[in-house]
Symmetry: C2
């Protein structure tokens, strides 16, 4: 249920089109939830059927018409209920990286190569991503109602991302050291 709830959460701030929600999603929630635009459009349609959002067709000049969604009272109710329901907090992971490491003995050289990619890519994006998110937090802080208050929570999610990246980089390096030692035996 997290996708519709993410959309409801964002719609609490502002009315928005599917297209803009898709971009907003990428900017804000993408570090912990990935959704494609086709999924967002489908989900919005379903949410309208359920009465959680309503939409208005807006005719534009020079561009395709757009459909602007807003959250309904019922949508707000659903969102608030979810905020008080037991969520899947110790969430199951589906992690292809660990799957491939687990069976790494089948191809040690390849596993080593992959671990280096993981280390390098995470290292490369850690700083720029942190900066980008910090900038976005500041932007939304002033443009979203109650943004000053919300921003503490956004910061928590950003902190998680940083801690996670650092953990992965260190873990990958440790694995690389072990593997290289083993392969050079």
């Amino acid at each position: 249920m997290s996708l519709p709830l993410g959309l409801l959460g964002l719609l609490r701030y502002n009315t928005n089109t599917g297209y803009d929600l898709s971009k907003l999603f990428k900017e804000s929630l993408n570090s912990f939830w990935h959704a494609q635009h086709s999924q967002i459009h489908r989900e919005l349609t379903r949410m309208e059927e359920k009465g959680w959002v309503s939409s208005q067709n807006v005719i534009q000049e020079g561009r395709p018409n757009k459909r602007v969604y807003s959250i309904t009272d019922k949508g707000n109710e659903v969102f608030n209920e979810w905020m008080n329901e037991p969520a899947d907090l110790l969430c199951n992971r589906h992690n292809p990286l660990l799957m491939s490491v687990f069976f790494g003995a089948a191809s040690p050289q390849e596993t080593l190569r992959r671990l280096k990619i993981v280390r390098d890519e995470w290292t490369a994006i850690l700083e720029p991503n942190t900066q980008k998110h910090r900038t976005l937090i500041n932007k939304y802080k002033s443009s979203v109602p109650n943004g000053e208050n919300e921003s503490m929570y956004w910061q928590m999610v950003l902190d998680y991302g940083v801690a996670d990246a650092k953990m992965i980089i260190k873990w990958a390096q440790d694995c690389i050291d072990k593997l290289e030692k083993e392969l050079n035996k």
Copy 2:
């Protein structure tokens, strides 16, 4: 594609029934991949259609008959190809916990309560889980062909789990501190 590949990976060690694979999965891969027995049965059927595994019906006394699967040459090929293909290493996450923290301003008390649950539950399972996995690694090390060699990779996955849990516990505590300070203002 990770589920079928996980099953192929396990079938390389031994022939196995869907039921046993389901249990093995829970013991070994569950920390980074969750699969229900119904999904495993369905997947095995499909893999047999594709010729990646073959099965034999074994009549048992006193118990329901069982279907024993073994990996085929083609299955081994598919598995090895996958070990050399670019995997989704910087994997997307779908993390309901972070989703709920992100919108935490909608219900600070509830968010605080959840973060405490997260901290406590992860703390409670960290030690026992580590022990359990260490025991399992030792068990499989001697019972699986090439187990001595494979065990280094299993250990890496276990290390990841430990580092991840510690990171989450620390992060949750930091968030709790911040939130309590804010709420007591």
